[in-house]
């Protein structure tokens, strides 16, 4: 379990993390979602004791990370795909890390096999692709067989097979009762992997809820309706809390009323409906909705050919 209380990190006049409090529970995959620059990596570095919080505190299993007797056996972290001296081989890197905790060589071989690095383990990390670097980082995180696993953007640079592998791995680790905390800026990936979501934007927690709640919670349930009498149906549906958009001549999108209600209204008034499809808001939409005011780097399309990404207002 990871517990952050009023965790704050200020760099000069810029607040990277602004007093966040959250709890990451054991036994489920908790996603840490936010746009680039939202403070995800800074928060994770503070959990690992690499960056000191400006104020506030964070504990792992009840104690600050640095106070644990066997840190690698307590928490495994992938903070950066290349937190490795790239002139060393993958095997020697893991061996040196393992030596600090007397973790046997057999375990080093195990995590190499587990992460599919068998063929390249004796090669210098310099030549690794981003995906292999991620696998090495995950291997290092698993080395101490830790109760808590922290992965910062683990699927970055992985091929589709690797993405599925990480997804299954983290779910499996959580099913064993471990605490799994992984960050991403890819909402679609989170929708498939996480059980619980903590959404961060500009250093502040925007949402902290089970993933299903975040998807449905924003009143985004809509229904696609096709009818040969769109004008009549619009009039009938018009009412408090119901909004209707006309998409094509005979296609409407209704929100604020469930499909059963729409069908009842249509039936009562003899309007023929030939499609009635519930539309679930994607997490992506929910996320955009949540973070639309919190994105630090907005893209602005300027007149001309270039599309520079400009820093948003402070």
């Amino acid at each position: 379990m990871i517990e952050a209380k009023g965790l704050t990190k200020v760099y000069g006049d810029k607040t990277a993390v602004g007093g966040v409090s959250f709890t990451v529970q054991a036994g489920r995959v908790t996603g840490f979602l936010g746009p680039n620059g939202a403070g995800k990596s800074t928060t994770m570095r503070m959990i690992m004791g690499l960056d000191a919080p400006t104020s506030g505190s964070v504990t792992v299993n009840g104690e600050p990370f640095a106070q644990h007797k066997a840190p690698l056996r307590e928490v495994g972290a992938l903070l950066d795909a290349k937190a490795v001296h790239t002139s060393r081989t993958a095997y020697n890197h893991l061996l040196a890390m393992a030596a600090t905790h007397s973790i046997p060589k057999s375990r080093v071989h195990e995590v190499i096999e587990m992460t599919g690095l068998g063929d390249v383990a004796k090669k210098k990390v310099k030549g690794f692709s981003l995906g292999m670097g991620q696998r090495l980082g995950i291997a290092a995180a698993l080395l101490g067989d830790p109760q808590t696993i922290i992965l910062d953007e683990p699927v970055n640079g992985l091929d589709p097979e690797g993405v599925v592998w990480v997804r299954n791995l983290v779910k499996y680790l959580a099913s064993e009762g471990r605490t799994v905390f992984l960050s991403s800026h890819l909402m679609s990936e989170m929708a498939l992997t996480a059980d619980h979501l903590i959404v961060i934007g500009r250093g502040r927690i925007i949402a902290d809820a089970p993933i299903a709640e975040i998807i449905t919670g924003k009143g985004h349930a809509r229904t696609r309706v096709r009818t040969d009498q769109p004008e009549r149906l619009m009039q009938l549906l018009a009412g408090t809390g119901v909004s209707v958009e006309v998409h094509e001549r005979e296609l409407l999108e209704v929100s604020g009323l469930d499909p059963r209600g729409i069908a009842r209204t249509a039936l009562d008034n003899q309007v023929m409906v030939y499609e009635l499809t519930p539309l679930q808001a994607s997490l992506e939409e929910a996320y955009m909705e949540l973070t639309k005011d919190e994105v630090e780097y907005h893209s602005h399309i300027t007149t001309g050919a270039s599309v520079p990404a400009q820093a948003g207002g402070k």
């Binding site: 690992m48 690499l50 840190p71 056996r73 937190a83 040196a96 600090t100 109760q147």
Partner: protein, 283 residues
């Protein structure tokens, strides 16, 4: 998918040993010997030490031959104590200190430039024990390498000086003293390098500061007029070797014990500063 070895359903706090100092020392030693660049620097140090000694043996022999034909020069040489050959084995020392000092810088700065530091200090979050373990590895290896290279350099030089009729006794107390003092000195420079690498966290910057201290400052201090710099020059690390190895105290230099203290301070102060900064700063 292959699975982890753990099949217990409920997982409690960690079991198994944590990072004791000897484990961290072992880890740092693995890191030290698994980098090709480190091994190349060590090998080139040995090569340079032996090569320079051989050159110096040849040059000294030539010089001695000239002197033998010139009674005036022979008299001048005799007045200086006459033991020309004894310092031959350590004649490559200024290159050894540069290479091993740079190695000291690199071993720490590369932790930060490559991101390895995040792995190192996540595994051992108390931070000072990896630093001290690395310091021990760097100092001991620099000491041993210099000592062994000096001895081999002496062995290689023996037949050359012998050819010119000069005497070189590797077992003499002055030979042993030169070997030990120079090896300790190089170990001290490597420690200064590692401290600089920790403080500036940048390879080029660290090596440049080290070169500034070891090569630029002694020359600059001599060129700048005024007694202050002449006095300050005596307290530079490079100025401590000759008082420590002199047969008799040479005027205008420190006493041997003072030189020892000065060299010690050159190690302790930067290392202490590096440790404070390492503990305080974010990784």
């Amino acid at each position: 998918m292959s699975t982890t070895t753990v099949d217990r359903k409920s997982i409690r706090n960690s079991v198994g040993p944590g990072p004791s100092f000897h484990r961290v020392l072992n880890s740092e030693f693995i890191k030290f010997r698994t980098l090709m660049s480190t091994l190349i620097l060590l090998a080139s140090t040995a090569l340079v030490m032996v090569g320079f000694a051989a050159l110096s043996a040849w040059g000294t022999g030539q010089f001695a031959e000239q002197v033998a034909n010139d009674p005036e020069a022979a008299a001048a040489m005799a007045a200086q104590g006459g033991d020309l050959a004894v310092s031959i084995p350590t004649s490559g020392i200024s290159f050894a200190q540069l290479i091993l000092g740079s190695l000291g810088v690199l071993l720490m700065s590369s932790e930060f430039t490559t991101g390895m530091a995040r792995s190192t200090f996540a595994a051992v979050p108390k931070r000072l024990s990896p630093f001290l373990a690395k310091l021990i590895v760097v100092m001991v290896s620099s000491f041993l390498l210099t000592a062994v290279s000096t001895y081999i350099a002496g062995l290689v030089s023996l037949p050359i000086v012998d050819n010119y009729g000069l005497k070189l006794d590797l077992g003499s107390s002055q030979s042993v003293k030169l070997l030990l003092v120079n090896s300790i000195y190089v170990a001290a420079v490597a420690a200064i390098g590692m401290a600089l690498g920790t403080i500036v966290r940048n390879s080029a910057g660290g090596i440049m500061s080290l070169v500034g201290l070891l090569f630029v400052a002694p020359i600059a201090f001599q060129l700048i007029p005024g007694d202050f710099f002449k006095e300050a020059n005596k307290y530079l690390p490079t100025s401590t070797i000759s008082p420590l190895t002199a047969v008799e105290h040479v005027p205008e230099t420190l006493e041997a014990w003072q030189a020892g203290l000065v060299l010690g301070a050159w190690v302790v102060v930067p290392v202490a500063l590096a440790m404070i900064l390492l503990k305080k700063r974010d990784v």
